[in-house]
């Protein structure tokens, strides 16, 4: 049995008498320490899939198991980095991370240890200097870094990233991608990242999960990215393996599963 096991998962949303089947028969196994990207056109249910793993949404059919335990509710072992950072604006950067650390480690670590742990995680994303600032006083990229620090500080079994860099400009995005790669290399976390950026998916992931269009979307194809780590974005840009993987994803998205605006 793999570390994270998603077996025959269906998800149907029901509003009144109207039933919308979003996901059908999702099967995926992810190993410990693996970095998996999930890519697909908007509306294909990739965020729904992430919410199912997080436990924020219940599965309609099938089951998800993490490290042998059935996923039934959200929990800090599946920390989420949300697209719009979702830091609490009335707390400082430090206190935002502290909220998570205090909740998860109150019983097991002393006050001083927790303090060290908060600073350690802020260091990981190079945000210690802004510890006393409020989210409103720092840039979007910095907020996302803090969001990552908060998620990492929970020591999750799997880190779920929901289009974490979607709202950022290209340069900031590149910096944060490097930061995530660096953290992945150092800590060896299992990471699942939703993205709609082909280059991001190829550069960061060990495997790319490509989703077909909804409704009733499913996994169309899974692509291995045989690029050695550590990866460098400039060297990768001319690497044949990178280009081949990139082309495969583009083919999938724009030839075989071209996005069609759903007619209402």
């Amino acid at each position: 049995m793999s570390y994270l096991n998603i077996s025959h998962v269906d998800k149907t949303f029901a509003t009144g008498t109207k039933r919308t089947e979003v996901l059908r028969d999702i099967r995926l196994d992810i190993d410990k320490g693996e970095f998996v990207s999930i890519i697909g056109h908007s509306g294909c249910g990739k965020s729904t899939l992430l919410n199912l793993i997080a436990g924020l949404t219940d599965v309609t059919k099938g089951g998800i198991k993490l490290d042998g335990f059935e996923v039934k509710a959200p929990g800090p072992d599946r920390a989420v980095v949300f697209q719009n950072h979702s830091l609490l604006p009335w707390l400082t950067v430090y206190d935002n991370v502290k909220l998570a650390v205090d909740k998860v480690f109150r019983a097991t670590r002393s006050r001083a240890e927790r303090h060290e742990w908060i600073l350690h995680n802020l260091d990981l994303v190079q945000m210690r200097h802004a510890a006393d600032k409020r989210p409103g006083e720092i840039s979007g990229g910095m907020r996302q870094r803090v969001g990552i620090a908060r998620a990492l500080a929970m020591e999750p079994k799997v880190l779920l990233l929901d289009e974490p860099f979607g709202a950022l400009d290209a340069l900031t995005r590149a910096h944060l991608q490097d930061a995530v790669m660096d953290i992945h290399a150092r800590l060896g976390n299992t990471m699942i990242m939703i993205t709609h950026d082909v280059d991001e998916a190829v550069l960061l992931a060990d495997r790319i999960v490509m989703m077909t269009n909804g409704p009733a979307a499913t996994i169309g194809e899974v692509l291995n990215v045989p690029l050695a780590r550590p990866r460098d974005r400039i060297a990768a840009a001319t690497d044949p393996a990178y280009l081949k993987a990139r082309q495969a994803v583009l083919r999938f998205l724009y030839e075989r599963h071209r996005f069609v605006e759903a007619a209402e």
Partner: protein
């Protein structure tokens, strides 16, 4: 043609077309007031002028011998002691307006305090639960339109004493806007914050204090602000009926003994205290919610 065009900028750098000379600084004309004096006078002069104009018109309008109401000068002549000495005590019923206002404020503090605590809790419950909302909201919408004084006979019957009755009237008047605003604030908590709370597995109490109250604080405080204004309206009316020592009873007492000038002074007191209450709550709200409305 292109060669000339290319040359031009170079020539311009080498030889400026015009010489740059610095002009001597001209001293600024007119009065040089410090900034704060300017803003202060800009904020206080207009209302002062308007106030004087109103007083002048009032004076002129009621100067004729058969006028029903006293003029400003008459108010000053007969009731200046109330203005100048708010805290005198000449006997158990003959005390300064400052004391009377404080008595009324004490009642407001109890009534409004209970209303704030219970209103925020009830509002939070209604905001969280769709079924509570559906069940209670129609009832609240009806109850909140009941005028404060309509509650007085019932509360007198229930408490058999004027003091708790007055406090209850304030409570029941102030609580509706607090409940309704808190509920809408809680309903408007972004799903993101709820997700964070769920991932962290915050329990109900932690969620209430760490997410719900700070996130809904701007709404809660606008409810509290409306509530405190209504309480002040209600206490004056309630005291007129229940008697005792408050500012409301003072007005009723002055009317019964035909001291119209005293009533006018009391009205000014009530207005100013009401304004201060409103400013106080909005100031606390600003301090507390700093950072909640993120840019």
């Amino acid at each position: 043609m292109s060669a000339v065009a290319q040359l031009k900028p170079k020539a311009a750098i080498a030889k400026p077309a015009a010489e740059v000379t610095s002009l001597p600084a001209t001293p600024r004309k007119g009065l040089t007031m410090p900034g704060w004096v300017k803003t202060l006078s800009a904020n206080t002069l207009p209302p002062l002028v308007v106030l004087l104009a109103i007083l002048a018109m009032w004076q002129i309008a009621f100067s004729s011998p058969g006028a029903n109401l006293p003029t400003p000068t008459a108010v000053w002549a007969e009731s200046s002691d109330l203005i100048l000495e708010p805290f005198y005590v000449y006997g158990s019923q003959d005390i300064g307006l400052g004391w009377r206002v404080l008595t009324s404020l004490e009642r407001v503090a109890y009534g409004f305090g209970f209303a704030a605590i219970i209103g925020i809790i009830v509002g939070a419950v209604i905001g969280q639960s769709v079924w509570m909302m559906r069940g209670l909201d129609p009832i609240f919408q009806v109850l909140r339109t009941v005028p404060p004084l309509a509650w007085l006979p019932i509360s007198l019957a229930a408490f058999m004493d004027s003091r708790p009755s007055a406090i209850f009237v304030i409570f029941i008047t102030a609580i509706w806007p607090i409940i309704i605003n808190t509920a809408s604030g809680v309903r408007n908590i972004p799903q993101d914050y709820r997700n964070v709370a769920q991932v962290l597995r915050l329990n109900q109490i932690e969620f209430f204090f760490k997410i719900m109250v700070p996130a809904a604080a701007p709404y809660i405080f606008s409810g509290l602000r409306i509530g405190v204004g209504l309480s002040w309206l209600a206490i004056v009316a309630a005291e007129m009926l229940t008697g005792g020592v408050g500012i409301g009873f003072f007005i009723w007492d002055a009317w019964n003994s035909s001291r119209l000038t005293d009533i006018i002074v009391a009205l000014v007191y009530i207005g100013i205290v009401g304004l201060l209450l409103d400013k106080l709550v909005s100031y606390i709200g600003r301090v507390v919610t700093r950072g909640t409305s993120e840019g």
